[in-house]
Symmetry: C2
């Protein structure tokens, strides 16, 4: 699936920035592809891009209207339909990560047919996948595994791949969810695959590659999530990771929305992931811990990362605040899990001592 | 989904009895619903039912032609289409567990539309399922977990539910695959559900029930299978079992078709299943071990079961050869996992000492 850019980001009528995580992800990770935003009068957020109407966007080089919001339930709202149809009539393609397929909304299907523009449903698998073979593939793989959903797995993988690429290392970010797919223009919507084929889809996401190439794979869900653990395990098995990065949000104590499900100790999270991952790659190790520290002031976040590093002896970083340089240093230097100099391992924003 | 009986079993042109496992399952577990068999000239097997043509079957009370074979790939073969259409014209419904949907074969869809008969695709989920809630449900649940696929999980669950029902206990067999669904007329084809919803589907399969009611749930796959472990984990979490039964085929050392994947020690199989199952039911225990002993002579099988019981101290039985009476005795007597008198626990066919 190749989605033509540049993009006009559709924000609809959402009131909360958290409901615009696809648009935010695109602005953070593919800013040069984001030309403007389009909002309904009731929209309560502003992502800081120019407000463009469809004709203006088209004139400035936009090719695709991207639905940048992910309201609960994943449905296309009634009052989005007319503007989406108008965008199609103006000659824009439309890309969506909603569960509702664009083509299943008659007014949208009709407008696309008339304008000749394309509809991209990134949450709909574009190919049938084979049952997993379990066969070993060449190249190296790193998988993000979470203590919960929405703890920063995608940002971690993007930060690591970007850091690797900036150093001239061979590395590819591999998207497993709608926002990641829109950011990179390719990937597999793992959570939309029929269960028998998820591990097989994960195998096909990171095919044979050069021995020194890293696939940096976005994770999904968590082995500790009562609804999504099966998805996480299939992705873990099919990815056959050499390295795991445990992703966690500082301060989160329970699975979001599941108050009866505490998040286990990070030791147990790592141990359970490694134990199960060894089934398809006996040499897997935990290479680092990625912390979403947005809830902490900078000094507390640094202290949190330092304490975590002392406890585990592996690189600990915040993909947004500190970046993944410490982790990639460690990998370039052999990365066996030995405790190295603090500066190299702990991704600390600022150090005064 | 209610599939009207009695059934005429379609055996097509298969050459190997193992490819007729749906028909065999129906004959073993729902013999009073199986009226006859229908075979193409090239068919190489005979399941011992009368060969009936469609009009004869109809006249004797058959309501549905059931595709009783499951060839690799799950597709409807070219030369099945004409006879299936003829069955519809003769007034029979058609039920299928193939991946190919009956309605997607034009000649079949057309014949059904003309005859007014119904098409049942038991491998197609009949309802959308919610994301799992993780909420505790009333009643008791027992889940079959396998060391591999095709080790006897369905037969184990059917044997246990039948034994419970014969004693007047409240118990329901819960089907999770096509053959189980055809045997009972209800269930959920777990392996055909989109991955995000598998645990939720498993929750809905065994809803709130009387405190002394047992849901006896057919398992799918194995936590140790490189392709299907995710399905197994989602089913384990969503079922919230109070009791697990580990199902294993005597003599099987590797995952079938995956020679690089040895089956772990049974201790490890039990421990891994319990460890992950505790996430949604901290009180889960392993209540027994079910052995498919078809490869063993009767005396070796008995010895195998006895040795296994000495090793684990829980009921060990063969659902076909010994039945599940020993397990159900144990449950009725408290079933804490204590080692009880041999006779009660080990389901031995014949004892001479």
């Amino acid at each position: 699936m190749f989605i033509p850019g540049k993009y006009l980001l559709f924000l609809g009528d959402v009131r909360d920035r958290l409901d615009a995580k696809t648009a935010s992800g695109l602005i953070d990770w593919a800013p040069d592809r984001c030309l403007g935003q389009w909002r309904l009068p009731a929209c309560g957020i502003d992502l800081g891009l120019p407000d463009l109407d469809f004709a203006e966007a088209r004139a400035q080089g936009a090719k695709t209207l991207v639905i940048g919001v992910t309201p609960f339930g994943g449905a296309i709202a009634e009052d989005w339909i007319a503007p989406i149809a108008a965008a199609l009539h103006a000659g824009l393609n439309v890309a969506s990560g909603m569960h509702t397929r664009l083509n299943n909304v008659p007014a949208i299907a009709e407008a696309a047919a008339r304008s000749g523009a394309s509809l991209f449903d990134v949450r709909v698998p574009s190919a049938p996948y084979a049952v997993a073979s379990g066969g070993k593939r060449s190249g190296k793989r790193m998988l993000m595994v979470g203590t919960d959903c929405a703890v920063g797995k995608k940002y971690s993988a993007l930060a690591i791949a970007r850091e690797m690429n900036a150093r001239g290392m061979k590395a590819s970010f591999r998207a497993t969810g709608q926002t990641g797919i829109l950011i990179t223009g390719s990937g597999i919507p793992i959570d939309a695959i029929v269960s028998d084929f998820v591990a097989g889809a994960a195998e096909s996401l990171s095919p044979d590659n050069a021995p020194d190439h890293w696939d940096v794979i976005e994770g999904q869900g968590s082995l500790f999530h009562p609804a999504y653990a099966g998805v996480s395990l299939a992705l873990l098995h099919g990815s056959q990771p050499d390295a795991l990065i445990l992703c966690h949000e500082a301060g989160r104590t329970h699975i979001d929305g599941y108050p009866d499900f505490p998040i286990p100790d990070l030791e147990e999270c790592i141990e359970t992931n490694l134990r199960l991952a060894r089934r398809t790659n006996p040499d897997v190790r935990c290479a680092g811990i990625s912390i979403n520290g947005r809830a902490l002031p900078a000094d507390e976040r640094d202290e949190y990362l330092r304490a975590l590093h002392e406890r585990f002896g592996i690189p600990c970083f915040d993909p947004v605040a500190t970046g993944a340089a410490g982790l990639v240093d460690h990998l370039e230097n052999g990365g066996s899990g030995d405790v190295m100099a603090d500066r190299q391992i702990v991704g600390v924003t600022q150090r005064t001592n």
